[in-house]
């Protein structure tokens, strides 16, 4: 039995009380005295040269305080990409400048090129309409293949073929991989599209810039998953405001899914406007703007080939991918299709030879960046689809072909041919668990029952692995990352024994306030209710690289454990003094410090009190106070993995797909709060189902966004998903972090899409549609029906 509120307890989420009663405090809820309101003017054409922008009429409009354009930001820097990726030929990638406001050219529909600040938002919006911009429309570059082929038309004039890099992973292995394909008894080839997604966090982005002319300090309230990273980018790259003069506060944030990792131009713009006007300047994005300006996700076009012998043993794998970057490089854009994608192409399999080629292509579309799963869903989807196709071609059962190729549970640590070392795992265990929970034996009866109702039933299997807990800084440094990826925590034990924990990881739906308190309660033997988690304010917390890539528990949680160890060490010293014992004789268990083998003890609260009221205290050797900070830089990634099973019913008359059963068996390592883990998996699976069946950003050939609202962009709703069966009882604890935890946030979004597509293809093939080997996502009724027509 887990301790109440400790590790392993399904403690209810304490933050939900304020969220569900409307007491959350989001950026848009914050009103500063004297604040003015900003509105951005966004390009209506996908590609155009700005000849002139006449703001004079707008400046005369009622309530208008300032109108800014790209000209106002020529002296400041650009928003950088966080990873410099090398091309196969050794050349460094091309990095176009990304200005605060578009300058010279507009490069996608929604590219902001002017900003109006007025007394009210409506006045600012009215004035935007009065700006007269002379923009020469240029042909839009939308299709990636065309972008690469036609160097006469360029998104950025200086990048001639619209290719940012041409990456080979691992280039030295290429010849061996190709040779294996030459001689392989069987080769399965699949071409597929990983559809572009719009993140659609429930809370749209918002930012308030607040410059204090008395102190020269800037404050930015913003919807961020990582306020320190945003501060770093603004300070070091964009505005040059020293970090000690800039505070970034990310208060309650209503979901991010990646889209709020990045620094956006609007954040710099409100800071600059606030300084100019000497007033706070607030901007709240509306939903239509969000579709046009939040970083999108995925958008890969891939050819994947799997070489096998006749028994289905994997011999070699190679892929060629065009990865859409959109019009500018967003902060993680270059790392997502490379180090978060190519390095995962081995999956949980023993494939000895793997080669991945990715070309990153600029187009006149919204920038693309990491979105829940980030690169790993793309890798998993390609791999799990081609494996199903190979199994079908070879006449091998999909379970069996996977089983034959899994890395043996005894083979860890396992070095993959794509540069990772999996520390631990047991892929047989999760797949066996899935098989048991999926009632495979009952499938035929269920399929028959469906048939009676005129429906086609199919089953789809996928296995997945991800590298999360990002990341060892020295490793990512070698790979081109411009920052370190550790995290930090301060444990501040207050004088009366309650505890504030200041953490670098930001919570925007994950439930950190609950889970992190559970960790501290368990470790320090205190009541979870006496622990408060503080996050999201660079002026309070030591440092942090934020929340993404399922890293918060594995990395920030480990930093908390390290800080807690320091607290315990210091507590022992204090206790030794108070109990007149040797420090080595002090034991700490269940919240009390005792002298080993005696009943003499001091409670945690007594030690804390003594640290702050040091009357009986070793002042000569020990500082008063009980506050410790730790940074934790992981030794390796963590490798959660699992197996997913999806059962669908296809309506052969309409092509409509119904997901009737969905089962997950995951290995997340040690689990702190099972209820929250279940919730994370539920959300991820729903997003995965969204990608597989419903969602897809569509541009027309002029670069106009056709899916610019919920009228055309289909988000999953409650009735699109079944009741999930979720299991995480298979546990191989992470070997290199103090919690043994691996991370669960992205799992559902990674494992789900191939399971769904495999299930639909299975249903159709079982019904005799032998010509169908693949359908691109989203599998809308119309696409499924059209495929069935042959």
């Amino acid at each position: 039995m887990p301790k109440d509120g400790g590790i392993g307890a399904s403690t209810l989420r304490r933050e939900d009380i304020r969220f569900l009663t409307g007491k959350g405090r989001y950026t848009a809820d914050i009103s500063l005295r004297g604040q003015a309101h900003a509105c951005f003017l966004r390009s209506e054409v996908a590609h155009g040269r700005i000849r002139s922008i006449d703001t004079s009429a707008a400046e005369e409009m009622p309530g208008v305080l300032a109108v800014l354009t790209g000209e106002d930001f020529t002296e400041v820097g650009g928003n950088p990409t966080g990873w410099l990726v090398q091309s196969r030929n050794g050349a460094t990638m091309k990095e176009p400048k990304r200005p605060v406001l578009a300058h010279g050219k507009v490069r996608h529909v929604g590219d902001a090129y002017a900003m109006v600040v007025a007394e009210t938002y409506e006045q600012a919006k009215d004035a935007c309409e009065a700006i007269e911009a002379d923009i020469e429309e240029l042909p839009a570059i939308v299709d990636m293949a065309q972008a690469v082929a036609d160097s006469s038309n360029r998104v950025h004039d200086e990048i001639e073929d619209n290719v940012v890099f041409d990456w080979g992973w691992i280039e030295e292995n290429r010849a061996a991989v190709d040779a294996a394909f030459e001689t392989a008894p069987h080769v399965t080839t699949l071409e597929l599209v990983n559809n572009r997604l719009s993140p659609n966090a429930m809370e749209p982005r918002a930012s308030i810039g607040d410059f204090d002319s008395g102190t020269g300090d800037y404050k930015l309230y913003t919807t961020s998953q990582n306020p320190h990273l945003t501060r770093l980018l603004i300070s070091a790259f964009v505005m040059g405001i020293p970090e000690n003069k800039l505070t970034v506060i990310a208060p309650d944030v209503g979901g991010g899914f990646g889209s709020k990792i990045y620094h956006y131009g609007e954040e710099a713009a409100v800071l600059a406007a606030s300084k100019r006007l000497n007033r706070p300047v607030k901007w709240v994005c509306d939903r239509s703007e969000a579709f046009l300006s939040d970083a999108h996700g995925r958008d890969h076009v891939t050819k994947i080939q799997l070489a096998t012998d006749r028994e289905g043993n994997f011999l070699a794998l190679r892929t060629e991918t065009l990865a859409n970057m959109g019009a500018y490089l967003s902060n993680f854009a270059t790392c997502t299709p490379t180090f978060l994608h190519g390095t995962l192409m081995a999956g949980p399999y023993r494939t000895p030879l793997v080669y991945v080629n990715v070309k990153a292509v600029l187009t006149n579309t919204v920038p693309v960046d990491a979105y829940r799963g980030a690169g790993r869903p793309e890798a998993t989807y390609s791999l799990e689809r081609v494996i199903d196709k190979a199994a079908d071609e070879l006449g091998i059962d999909p379970w069996e072909i996977r089983r034959r190729n899994f890395i043996d549970p005894g083979a860890f640590p396992y070095t993959t041919p794509v540069g990772l070392v999996y520390d631990t795992g047991n892929y047989h265990a999760t797949m066996d668990k899935l098989r048991e929970l999926s009632d495979v034996a009952g499938f035929e009866a269920r399929a028959e029952e469906s048939r009676q109702r005129g429906k086609l039933r199919g089953f789809g299997l996928s296995t997945w692995i991800e590298a999360c807990g990002i990341a060892p800084s020295n490793l990512v440094g070698v790979l081109g990352c411009r920052v370190g990826l550790y995290d930090a925590a301060t444990i501040r034990v207050n004088a009366t024994g309650n505890i504030s924990v200041l953490v670098g990881a930001h919570s925007h739906g994950q439930g950190h306030e609950t889970v992190f308190a559970q960790l501290i309660a368990e470790k320090l033997g205190v009541d979870a209710n006496s622990v408060e988690i503080v996050h999201g304010d660079t002026s309070k917390i030591p440092f942090g690289m934020g929340t993404y890539g399922s890293r918060s528990l594995a990395v920030c949680g480990s930093a908390m454990m390290k800080a807690a160890d320091k607290i315990i060490d210091k507590g022992k010293k204090i206790a030794a003094h108070m109990l007149e014992a040797a420090e080595g004789d002090i034991e700490f268990t269940d919240g009390s410090f005792s002298v080993a083998g005696t009943d003499r003890q001091k409670s945690f609260a007594e030690i804390a009190f003594s640290a702050y009221v040091p009357h009986n205290y070793p002042l000569e050797t020990l500082e008063p106070g009980l506050e410790e900070t730790a940074f934790y830089d992981p030794a390796n990634f963590t490798y959660p993995a699992g197996a997913y099973g999806c059962e669908v019913e296809v309506d052969p008359e309409t092509g409509g797909v119904d997901i009737v059963r969905f089962t997950c068996a995951d290995d997340f390592g040690n689990v702190i709060n099972p209820m929250i883990v279940q919730g994370q998996v539920h959300g991820g699976v729903a997003q995965g189902i969204g990608q597989a069946l419903l969602e897809g950003v569509v541009y027309n050939e002029d670069g106009q966004l056709l899916t610019g609202s919920y009228m055309d962009y289909a988000m999953p709703r409650a009735d699109d998903v079944p009741s999930f069966t979720v299991d995480h009882s298979c546990v191989t604890p992470c070997t290199h972090n103090p919690l043994g935890a691996k991370g669960c946030g992205e799992a559902g979004a990674i494992g789900t899409p191939p399971a769904v597509v495999n299930a639909v293809v299975d249903a159709l093939r079982r019904a005799g549609h032998d010509h169908i080997t693949h359908i691109d996502m989203p599998l809308t009724p119309s696409r499924v029906w059209t495929a069935m027509q042959g």
């Binding site: 008359e653 309409t654 419903l694 919920y710 055309d712 009724p781 119309s782 029906w785 059209t786």
Partner: protein, 261 residues
Amino acid sequence: MHNFDLVKPSSVAEAVAALGSEGAQALSGGQTLLPSMKQRLAAPERLVSLTDIAEMKGVCRGEEGLVVGAATPHGVVAREAKAHYPALAWLAGEIGDPSVRARGTIGGSLANNDPAACYPAAALASGATIVTDRREIAAGDFFQGLFTTALEEGEIVTSVRFPLPERAAYMKFAQPASRFALVGVFVAQFADGVRVAVTGAGEDGVFRWTEAEGALSADFRPEAVEGLSLSAEGLLGDLHGTPAYRAHLVKVLTKRAVAAA
């Protein structure tokens, strides 16, 4: 949204008078008009609310069928028409979500004549009469293409009169994002024949599938339309479905409607 005046008349006559002023527009449930104002696609100077006019509200069984006040919200129709015209009530209950059904009205839906809206199919298949402040218009004459109706400037729909069929059913195949009708088919059988109205599919909005009407008038079974096929010509194509797919769905849904009627 631009600024506007709001007037709330309590009679049709007052409403008509108020609509006489420059830049005035009728506001019913606001489920279509307000979002387009927020997006600045519409900027009326004065909104004339119709929802306080008692004579325009309610569902009432009369001699000539069922009379639904134009300002009656979908949710009320779903409840109150059930005993008299279950297919109509079901249609109303499938529109949007609870908040849309609490505000959106039949008059607004018909006047707007969205090519993917549900009510136009019911009106056309039922051979309904659209009653306005000045005249009566047969449904067949009322719908005149995408977002276009026979209504004159300032004319208000006050009620809709539905003859009651012997049997009827509406089948809606939802567009995945908006959940409006990707295709919707309303089949109604009257003593003098069957009417089949199709929404969501036509380039010119709601239309009757006369071929199916003939076949079903002779033999009201799903099999009766089996041999027919609707031409994809003149049908809508967009990212949710090609014209061919829509043509196919029309037939599938017609059969299902007949089976359900």
